[in-house]
Amino acid sequence: MRSPLATIIIKELKDLLRDPRVFLGIVVMPIIIFPIMGGAVSMAQTSTYEALKTVKVACLNLDHGQWSEELISFMDSNQQIDLIVLDAQSVQDAVAETAKLGAPMLIVIPKGFSENLSSYTPAVISTIYFVKKYSFTEPAIGDVVNSVLHEFSELVSSKLVESAAPNVNPEAVLAPFSVQEETWIKGNVVRIAPEQLIGVVLTQSIMLPVVIMVLILVAAQVAATSVAMEKEEKTLETLLTIPVSRFTILAGKLLGSVAIAGLGAVVYTAGFMMYMNAIMGPFLQALNVPVGITPLGYAIMGVSIFLTLLAALAIAITVSVFAEDVRGAQSLLGFIIILVIIPFIVLMTGDYEYFPLGLKIALFAIPFSHPILVVKALLAEDYLFTAYSIAYIAAFTVVVLYVAAKFFATEKIVTAKLTFKRKARR
């Protein structure tokens, strides 16, 4: 014969996995979400790339001198730029014409441009953007044109240096020295700018909390709904009169939800790793330095997430016992959701080391902050912090479980109801 605990857990799994909402949240969601996220990022990249393949640029030449002709042919020879030289006589007319052409940019070469350059007097070229779509590709078009103009300006410089001082290397005058950026990380010095490196690690440490948060919310939702369903259908009342200890009933419900959450964790983590690999893999491999979280780190993170989940589930189960039905449980769960989301947002947007003490204490007291804090600590290789953090969540979970068990042993589990209605009858 199976033990009563196993019987309850198995029933719980059967019941939950047949719930389409659970199935959607735990299995289908990650399978859909991560490819969509990956697809969206790469699609955004390709679309920008496509948009920049050929950029239509209008040009008004008010100079007609040697240098402006040279600039026009320089731009014309550039593959990325589709140059249209306008016949207009004034900037006003040129703007109207450019707008009609649908070109995103107009370059105005002023009168006296060539004369100025030849006489070593700085000249000004104006570029006019036509912002229409407010998309990321619009400024990128500007970058393309600017870099072509910059190239031309360097060309002019070196020609001017050549004619002024024929026996000097123009390179040495234009850029007497250059800067080679390197970054020290984990005992290795790598040839890469710090922004780029931090960008990679940040993506990791931003995406991970998102995944953890979604998982905690889905699991809490599942557990709360399952308990509330038992209350609504009076199956809980029935369970409480069978010859099985109350603690076994609580443990069965909890472990059933934990198993589902564990399944979710596996699916979400796999999806997340696939996503990270697709986006960051080539870059990290080329870098050839252990950036981000180590295998030990992942193990610590797993423990932290598991304990937090356990705490969340214990709270969700206890709280939903107070509710009369599923809807009541959902609204009570709203408070937990806030407790999950607030630390998430705060930790996402700020560096908690610089927070005021009160906010810091509040953040550390909320158990749901800890998986995120642990991820940050792991990136910083602060293992002492992760030990404290895990001890705290463990203690918190034990307390919640103790309270839940005490509560399950009283009659409150039958009579407790937090309704926002007036008292019924008499």
Binding site: K11, D19, K234, P243, E411, R425
Partner: protein, 242 residues
């Protein structure tokens, strides 16, 4: 020894006293019906006997076991059907019976016997292989009553077992309770709003109102004592005074 022994039972919810000194005795093998108006305290009494609620004061015993200090002994010999109960919708009827039976059966063989008996009592046949979410209210209630009886309790506590059912389903449920109780000598404590049902099913009847049992006896005794044609008249004379 009584199957159910209740003496001066009081129950308060906050400052509201739902039971104000209930006295009630049910002999082993007896089918006892508790009737009374809405809010009289029937469910509260049954929940206390079923170890769900703790009495504020008074004594409640089931076959000599105290429902508070010996709750786990009591739970081993009772089965309880809550008022307006449901079942796990995503399980099939058969899965539900097996789930509940596994808490009472000592081995696999007994488990199979219980499930088989539950299936037979329910009379649901092939429908037992369907998910409970497909069941009508009547079918669900038949399943739940079968569940309560299949595990051979010494005391079955049934809160309005036919409440809200159509005539056919209600009739089926009454019949199985009566047959099962007489075949196994099971004690049944039930509540009801249906006087015909109580007259048909119950050996003895208690009329409860406002948290006290007003009168007790067989329906014959009560009809004679109140000079009434039927139990309904007795009920109105005893509890309808307000």
């Amino acid at each position: 020894m009584y199957a159910v022994y209740i003496e001066d039972l009081r129950k308060r919810f906050g400052d509201f006293e739902a039971l104000k000194g209930v006295n009630l005795r049910v002999a082993p093998g007896e089918v006892y019906g508790l009737i009374g108006p809405n809010g009289a305290g029937k469910t509260t009494t049954l929940r206390i006997v079923a170890t769900l609620l703790i009495p504020t004061s008074g004594k409640v015993e089931v076959f000599g076991y105290d429902v508070v200090s010996q709750a786990s002994e009591v739970r081993r010999i009772i089965s309880y059907l809550p008022e307006e109960a449901g079942a796990y919708r995503r399980l099939t009827g058969l899965e539900y019976l097996r789930f509940m039976a596994s808490f009472y059966a000592k081995d696999g063989e007994e488990l199979e016997r219980m499930v088989e008996e539950g299936a037979r009592i329910s009379g649901l046949g092939g429908k037992l292989k369907e998910k409970i979410s497909n069941y009508s209210k009547g079918m669900k209630q038949r399943l739940l009553v079968a569940r309560a009886l299949m595990c051979h309790p010494r005391l079955a506590i049934l809160d309005e077992p036919t409440g809200g059912l159509d005539v056919v389903h209600a009739h089926h449920i009454r019949r199985i309770i009566k047959e099962y109780a007489s075949a196994h000598g099971t004690t049944v404590l039930l509540s009801s709003h249906n006087m015909l049902e109580v007259e048909y099913l119950c050996d003895r009847v208690g009329i409860i109102d406002n948290g006290v049992v007003l009168v007790e006896g067989t329906s014959e005794e009560l009809k004679e004592r109140y000079d009434a044609e039927n139990l309904e008249e007795v009920f109105v004379k005893v509890a309808g005074g307000a």
